[in-house]
Amino acid sequence: MTVKNRDDRQPGVAAHPVEVQGLVKRYGRIAAVDHVDLTVETGGVCGFLGPNGAGKTTTLRMLLGLVRRDSGSIRVFGRDPADDPIQALEGVAGFIEEPRLYSYLSGRRNLELLAAFDRSGAGAAVIDEVLELVDLRERADDRVGHYSQGMRQRLGIASCLVRRPRLLMLDEPANGVDPAGIRDLRALLRRLAGQGITILLSSHLLAEVEEVCDRVAIIDHGRIVYAGSLSELHASAPPRYRLETTDPDQTRAVLAQLSRVRDLDQNAGEVTFLLDDAAGSIELTQALATAGVGIRTLVREEETLEQLFFRLTEPDPPENPHAVVA
């Protein structure tokens, strides 16, 4: 599956930041990653979503060369990290689960260490610049052990930026960050994406993903269940309707008979349901009119990313819509 950028890729431009085909990683009998195909195109922020244990962190580990794959292929900017991790990961930075830095060294010392390990020649000016960017310059000489969780997350992002990446892989960067920090992080990610950095963002915060990502890949039980733009994902889901009538019980009974109505639910005086197509709304209003039920309001609602996420990653509801009616 391909997670496409909004802008088509120009021919002749370097390879995709990430191209994965048939990727498999097993731990004993369990396939943590099970034949994953994923392409992340240049530019923008791509969300990488999945429940706990779905395989997203293992996938990121394989992309960063920390874990060996059992089968399949990985290309990062056209190179296989297994062949030459140093060259393949040039221009790539990221952290897994959360940034882990040396608690007994200062923030600045940590960045100096990592810049030295990059052998990129990034000096004090670059380090000051990224510290400024993540708003840590004032605390740069304090030991990381004295930092709050949010400050560590920001330092983790700074440690990635020291590398001057073209691709950033961030795993739960908002963990432990307060609301103001999340707002700043969101702005930072947008700014970085605006500078041409491709960002692969793994997160549980679906609202955040919806705010900053233009594309998403959703993984469940080691398999990609959706990859594409957010707008396509929203468009792919049937709209949910909220209906208030003069007789909710009668309404529920009427709707339960209609084949185009799914996922029927009733909450006090309100009935909610999915409609497979627009023709369904005509059928619905006719059926209610025939039954003598008056419509007070009928509201069409787009599903949130969270609702879409659960639809894709949780077991299908029973076929019979009556079974889910309270």
Binding site: L66, V67, Q87, I96, L101, Y102, F117
Partner: protein
Amino acid sequence: MTTTTAAAESSTRRRGGVADTVASVMVAYRWELRKLAAQKRTWLGIAVAALTPVFFLLSIQFSKVTPGDGPYGDALGPNLRHTGLAIDPVVLVEITMIGPAILAALIAGDIVAGEDMAGTLKTILVRGLRRGQILAGKTLALFTYVLAVVLAFIIVGIPAGIIAWGFNPVTNLNGDRISALHTLGLTIASLALYTAPFLAVASFGLFLSVVTRHSVAAVVGTLFYTVALQGLSGVPAIAWIHPYLIVNQFTAWYGFFHTPTQWYLITRCLWVSALFAIPPLIAAWIIFQRRDVDS
């Protein structure tokens, strides 16, 4: 040639080759030293090494131990209180192989496993140095720590002994008198030789640090390893193997205090130490290169 290809080839030239590898290892080595210097346990190990001869010296000076008892029975022990040059060799005997094993395990067991447990290993492995270069830097830093421990032992122990008991000649293991200056040279040579099995134990600790991924397990494992080898060295049925056990190389420096010098003890210490150090280092290198970092 496209710009991308040219950049890749330029990068290939930049990354690779012996000079680049050495430079990368030196980067890792320098930063490992800085990390060790920032950790209390490093200074604790060095402080213990520095203070142990002072502790022994004071306990002998102020105790009621009479010649023939306790440390007086050790190699060069009869020289105690007659010359300060005897204190370091006697302490080497007293601390047996457990002393260096503890000091080596303290750092060796933690140097990889500690980072694995703290998660910093995955942070440094996704940067610009190869795994082998990082491990080489860690190995060199570990060996530097061992040298620092021995150096602290020399720098504090010998002057402390001289201040307490003077810079006088020593009676060696054959009963021959050797000058103070000659003894000083032999003591330094002895401690240099002592470093060889010390490094071998540290190498095994590093191996356990890579394999176990757990600091405590690696530290305890290193101690258990030396104690087990010490146990083997007491089994009469395998007496033929005793001279080739690493624990028995900690007394090879006796060779310097014989007349004539027993070079076979010294050379055997060197090659046995190498034999006990190199395989664990190679195994650690292979495992570290291939292992998944999924902590």
